[in-house]
């Protein structure tokens, strides 16, 4: 088991250098960039990355969700109502929204998760649709026109969140917290149980693991974090409409995870989200055929680079220090699916 100490040290030094470099770049970025548009894209990428990480979290437990947008919307609406109508401070509303989302996720999840597999995919997709229809039809949720003029998060002491730069740093902090939390989850027993269930629910069952219980836990954690992202989205964009959560959003979220690298539960979504936020924006030059190019790009990645960007880099042995925790060990194709007992 013991690795050569010097080899290990080189690995960790490389890793440390990579992390420090990334941190410096991320911290300096808004100071160098003047364009508000790019800062906006960066903020949206961080929101997308958080959503895609919740997708990957559920995927790590063998659940494929198309419903990331549902709890994103629930979080956005809950926090808007609490702040605008009930007069809460944003920072007080935040834990309340997390609580509400957790309770709702537990309630709905206990029904949804009973069918892992195709039925769960479909029901998560339909759930998004239902949340959108509910938001559009119910008067106190603002109807199809949505709610406008949502306040930015309240200032903490001297720190105001009115500028895009300030919000960028806020999102960076939130992203970091989510990454650390998820990393801790993946390295804990819970993360290992999830991966065991994904590999084979039956086998996990014979080891005394209740797949339903752990999948439900994954659903609750994922949904709660998605709702948290929704809070920040509502108070960043200052306007929420039911349409903003519909259609393509959920599909784009899983695209981020697939493009970045499905088996890299943390780094994959982040890289995928940044790339898939920026690339389509710059493809707007050819606006008419932009969805065709995005669709073709997606097909090419799925058909020929199944490991996603990270998996492909890893396989080409360019450099191994992408190895952040929380990913499955990959084989030649970038994937770990080898021992499958029964079709989970």
């Amino acid at each position: 088991m013991a690795k050569l100490p010097n080899k290990n040290a080189i690995g960790s030094r490389k890793k440390l250098i990579a992390i420090v470099l990334t941190a410096v770049v991320l911290l300096v970025l808004p100071l160098v960039i003047d364009s508000d548009y790019i800062k906006h894209l960066l903020i949206m990428s961080s929101l997308g990355a958080i959503l895609a990480m919740t997708f990957s979290l559920l995927y790590s437990a063998g659940l494929i969700t198309l419903g990331a947008a549902a709890f994103y919307a629930i979080g956005a609406y809950a926090s808007t109502l609490l702040v605008m109508n009930a007069g809460f401070s944003f920072w007080l509303a935040l834990p309340l929204v997390v609580l509400i989302a957790a309770v709702l996720a537990l309630g709905f999840g206990s029904v949804f998760v009973r069918n892992a597999g195709v039925a769960f995919v479909i029901i998560s997709l339909i759930f998004v649709q239902v949340v959108i229809i509910a938001a559009g039809q119910l008067e106190f949720l603002g109807g199809w026109g949505g709610i406008i003029g949502i306040s930015r998060p309240d200032a903490i002491g001297p720190v105001q969140f009115t500028s895009k730069t300030a919000f960028y740093y806020l999102m960076l902090a939130v992203l970091l917290l989510v990454v650390l939390a998820f990393n801790a989850l993946y390295s804990s027993r819970m993360g290992r149980v999830w991966r065991a269930i994904k590999l084979s629910p039956h086998l996990a069952g014979t080891l005394g693991i209740n797949p339903y219980k752990y999948r439900l836990l994954a659903f609750v954690v994922g949904s709660t974090v998605a709702a948290l992202a929704g809070c920040f989205y509502a108070h960043y964009s200052q306007i929420i409409t039911p349409g903003a959560f519909g259609g393509w959003l959920s599909i784009y979220v899983q695209l981020y995870a697939v493009v970045g690298g499905l088996e890299y539960y943390i780094l994959g979504p982040i890289i995928g989200a940044v790339l898939m936020t920026f690339v389509p924006e710059y493809l707007r030059i050819v606006k008419e055929i932009e969805p065709i190019i995005t669709g073709a790009l997606l097909l090419i990645i799925i058909l020929f680079f199944p490991g996603g960007i990270l998996g492909t880099i890893k396989n080409s042995k360019v450099d191994p220090f992408w190895n952040l925790k929380g990913k499955g060990r990959s084989d030649k194709t970038g994937f770990k699916e080898t021992a499958e007992v029964g079709r989970g």
Binding site: Y59, I64, I122, I126, G295
Partner: protein, 297 residues
């Protein structure tokens, strides 16, 4: 509620329901055979309607012939998509590939196909609504109950398609092969059958059903490039309600959703869809596998 209104709502329910049944039968055949959750199904439905518009409205081809042409055209589109995308994808899957990974990648591939078909149709036909002149504009008047003949024709056509599908699936050797491949492709291959081409035909058949559904409904609603997205969510809901892998369940689910939507929109307005969803949740609590399906891990 007068008798007239009741009968009209009932006919509306049957029209909506029969279209959903055709859609979901196609989805189900594809899902069971090729293990693809086909997100492009709504777009195939839309292209079916555009083919109908092209032949029936623009080229004045006979109504029934246009319908058949729409079915054939979509079968070709389906077969080509399968050969071009899913066949390449499934080559990478082995027996040991986990089901969730397989499902995810095929579903994502179908999303890519959906984006291409959606935008391709938009570029080809533009955003404006295209109306198709009703081939049966007459109104039936039976004991003061007024029903549009077109809706009756739509219901009859859907029943005929279902009947044809039943005969194909249960009375021909192709149907037997298709069902066998859906059950266990490896065992079929061991019997000396080339399962690959059965799967191609399976995807083509499912696509043809979507195309027929679009073509049948096209004269009733106008043809737009949004129609695919509108129909796909409720189709998935019907699939779930009836139970995956049960044709009878699909038919019952389709009729139930048709009835709920038709009567719900009349008396409740737009929240009717919420009630449909509540019903599905309740049914899933009682029967996790849908009405007539089996729950899966």
């Amino acid at each position: 509620m007068s008798l007239g209104l009741f009968v009209q709502l009932l006919v509306n329910a049957l029209t909506i329901g029969s279209i959903y049944i055709l859609m979901v039968l196609g989805l189900d055949i594809i899902l069971r055979g090729t293990k693809i959750l086909n997100f492009a199904h709504g777009q195939l439905y839309m292209i079916g309607a555009y083919v109908m518009f092209l032949f029936f409205q623009m080229l004045h081809v006979n109504y029934i012939v246009s319908l058949l042409l729409a079915g054939i055209a979509l079968a070709i589109v389906g077969a080509l998509s399968y050969l071009g995308i899913f066949a390449i994808l499934s080559k990478r899957f082995t027996v040991s590939t986990s089901f969730s990974y397989r499902l995810l990648l095929s579903a994502m591939a179908s999303v890519g196909l959906m984006m291409i078909l959606q935008q391709g149709t938009l570029l080809a036909f533009g955003t404006q609504e295209r109306g198709i002149q009703s081939p049966f504009p007459q109104i039936l008047d039976i004991f003061d109950v007024r029903i549009s003949l077109l809706r009756v024709v739509i219901i009859i056509l859907s029943v005929l398609v279902c009947l044809g599908l039943y005969l194909l699936m249960y009375k021909t050797s192709f149907g037997r092969l298709l069902r066998a491949v859906s059950y266990d492709p490896e065992a079929v291959t061991l019997q000396g059958v080339n399962a690959f081409w059965i799967l191609v035909l399976c995807f083509a058949l499912g696509s043809a059903l979507a195309g027929l559904a679009g073509a049948i409904i096209a004269p009733l609603f106008s043809v737009t490039n949004q129609m695919g997205q509108n129909v796909i969510f409720l189709s998935f809901l019907v699939l779930l309600l009836g139970g995956i892998g049960s044709y009878r369940g699909t038919i019952i689910g389709g009729l139930l959703v048709g009835l709920l939507l038709s009567f719900g929109f009349q008396f409740l307005g737009g929240v009717a869809e919420l009630f449909v969803f509540m019903l599905v949740i309740i049914i899933l609590i009682i029967r996790p596998g849908g009405l007539l399906g089996e729950a899966t891990e």
